[in-house]
Amino acid sequence: MFESAIPALIEMITWPAPLYLFLGVVLGMAFGILPGLGGPQVLALLLPITYGMDVDLAIVLLIGAMAAVPFGGSIPAILINTPGTGQSAATCFDGFPLAQQGKAGMAIGASATASCLGAIFGAVVLTFLLPIGRQVVLLFSYPEYFMLALMGLSVIIVVSKDSLWKGLIAAILGLMLSTIGYDPVTGSVRFTFGSDHLWDGIRLVPAFIGLFAIGEAIELFLKKGKIAQVEYSGKISDVFTGIKSVFQYFGLFFRCSIIGTVIGIIPGVGGAVSNFIAYGHALQSSKDSDNFGKGDIRGVIAPEAANNSKDGGALVPTLIFGIPGSIEMAVLLGALIVLGLEPGPRMMLERPETVLILIYVLVAGNILVSIFGLFSAGIMVKLTYVPATLLAPVVFMLALMGSYLTHGMIFDVVVSLIFGILAFAMKRFGFSRVAVVIALVLGRLAQKTFHQTLMLWGVKGFFVRPISLGLFIITLAMILFPYIQAALRKKRGA
């Protein structure tokens, strides 16, 4: 495969490929920014355009758009606390508090840099993993999925350090909500109150939009003022501080990129999970974690690195087995099939050039979108200085439109509004919204894989497999570490 490295690169920089890349990136970024729209939608939109196009150019267009989505989604997450896509939800946790402190530029700088480098990391891993990827993919089964979900859930303990009880109440609420809809085991429907719309459970994007954007819009209406609680300084050096911060915490960035790539590789766990686990890792591995949730730049770097490196990872099963690792990949796979390609074992042998172009475009698209992001950061930051009475209605509109757009259903808008009120109440009484989100995302995965494991192997299934056991021990260690540390400190003090 590697002998095609140079020809593929030449192909990619030959006119009109850069034009298609540019168009793809602009469109992908726009879809990422708009809440409710994301990777699957932009790919579905581009699909008919690519019929009859040159295969390589079509790939440049599609992957360029796909690559630009995650960073696009992080921009509204930082500026107005509205994740543009589900994958950017964790960026809200610290990105928005930074914006409130007038450091939106710094957050965007860090996000752009971590995104871009994360994607490059994922692509490099993808390139070298392709020859041995199949073994890696097949290593993970239900017990491992369950342990990953458990690891994600353990993050709740860390984010609710103010009051463990309130955190647990929020988490249980999230878990309860995640049981709405199809029972993943028997296929019967639960807690749907006779509504067809609840058969698939609470959709994540409308819930996120409600919890963050609408909750925030209500807050803005009441508080007036501006998002940024400082005077506008007009300096853009913040952006550079953000870029530098990624290198300052390079170890963290690196570990989170690994987390993102690995989770991307595992089909069925999905991008929505990787950013939470990375965020949790950042929290748990930091000695001074008091500032997290209140605007710690590390809380931006971690999820951003993970949600971009995961795309490289997700391409591993897609290219090796022809099996999509995420919804985006499913749409992409459909597009490739229509173009006459057959992703899978044969494509790797027969069209190594196409595979490499795909990887290059993933990298190039990410670099391009980050550059757009860095250059426009100065203007975008001004949004946080717009008076709340003007901004809040717009946020409200965009949020409701976003929840409608995902599936074109008014029901989702209602879900968003209910979650918005819930979020407002939770914030008032000091309950963690993050805990609800994490439990909602992971509850279903945990439940399904728990039953799958029990059905096939019984309880011992969790503990006889090395990776599953290893993940379990790591999770335990992460939960217990702060207590052990506190106990030791006490002993030393006494």
Partner: protein
């Protein structure tokens, strides 16, 4: 004083404007009665990605070509409730020929047979069928059971299914019953995960469309095909027997998936005629057929009469297995 009121009034005015905008955007319902309208809606009751979405979108340009006035066809994914939300939406739309939708057959018969559907599939104005999907039964190389006889004797065989309301899931349950295999379905979120489970050896048995499994069984030989649910052997798998050869020919119709397209009940006769004519021409367009072959799923056009028959026969077939399905769904 005045300024204060202004500030108080301002957010209120803005809110009113927002609400007004909502009313305008959501309230407008283009009540176009003419056919074909400038914009038509093609409802796909699943999310983008996957066969139904891909092939429906592939057909759109050809429908545009043969419908009078070359209307815009807007593809609308309405996923949820195992197809029920999308089908209901199509079923309840105005029968003016400007809204139509694709169905998953025979899986979509399930909600009607179980009595949960808000529609009557036999009343839909069927336009035709896009293609037919042949299923292949595979076992994991790590499985202890590698022939039909071994499977029938096995104390328990695990199978990777995606819900019972899919053609694959429904087909697996029915096939196991008919073949006398003690099967335990292990639910998965998608065919992807189920196929990977079989590759790892976590489950014994999966059955999915031949086009989906081709790369896994022909190109990389990660799974072992035992039989295919078809009347004739497939040129891709010349050594794999058909279920007819094994003596269970009645399973072919139960485990073959169709992609029929229909419009709401009560389409005016003139509109129906124009539509059915255009649909037939579109699915028979040589260029479209070439694309379908390239995508590993040759087009299988059916006349409206054939499609209508397919639907009523399907409902009958699934009704026979109602008790079995209910047992699994509990």
């Amino acid at each position: 004083m005045k300024r204060e009121t202004m500030q108080k009034v301002k957010p209120f005015v803005v809110l009113c404007l927002v609400l007004a905008l909502f009313l305008v955007t959501f309230g407008v319902n283009p009540a176009e009665a003419k056919f074909p309208a400038k914009n038509m809606t093609f409802i796909i009751p699943v999310s983008p990605g996957g066969g139904f979405d891909t092939f429906a979108r592939m057909l759109v340009p050809y429908l545009q070509k043969y419908l009078p006035g070359n209307p815009n066809i807007i593809v609308s994914n309405v996923p949820g409730g195992e197809w029920n939300i999308g089908i209901t939406k199509m079923y309840r739309s105005k029968p003016d020929g400007n809204t139509f939708g694709i169905l998953n057959w025979p899986a979509n018969a399930l909600s009607q047979v179980l009595g949960t559907a808000k529609f009557d599939l036999t009343k839909i104005t069927w336009l035709g069928n896009i293609s037919e999907v042949t299923y292949v039964m595979c076992v994991s190389p790590q499985s202890k059971y590698k022939t039909l006889q071994e499977l029938q004797k096995a104390p328990e065989v695990t199978s990777g299914v995606v819900g019972l309301a899919s053609t694959a899931g429904l087909g697996t349950v029915i096939a196991a019953q008919r073949l006398g295999i003690n099967m335990k379905p292990i639910p998965h979120d998608g065919s992807t995960e189920a196929i990977l489970s079989a590759m790892r050896g976590d489950v014994d048995w999966v059955q999915y469309p031949l086009a989906t499994l081709k790369k896994t069984i022909v190109d990389s030989k990660d799974l072992i095909p035992l039989w295919i649910y078809s009347k004739k052997r497939s040129p891709i798998l010349p050594d794999v027997p058909t279920v007819v050869e094994l003596g269970y020919g009645d399973l072919v119709d139960l485990v073959t998936m169709y992609r029929p397209v229909g419009a709401p009940p009560g389409l005016p006769d003139d509109v129906r005629k124009i539509w059915q004519d255009a649909f037939w021409k579109a699915t028979n367009d040589p260029e479209f057929q070439k694309k379908m072959i390239a995508a590993n799923e040759p087009a299988m056009p059916m006349t409206p009469e054939e499609t209508t028959r397919l639907i009523s026969q399907g409902i009958e077939m699934v009704t026979k297995y109602k008790d079995l399905i209910q047992k699994y769904m509990k």
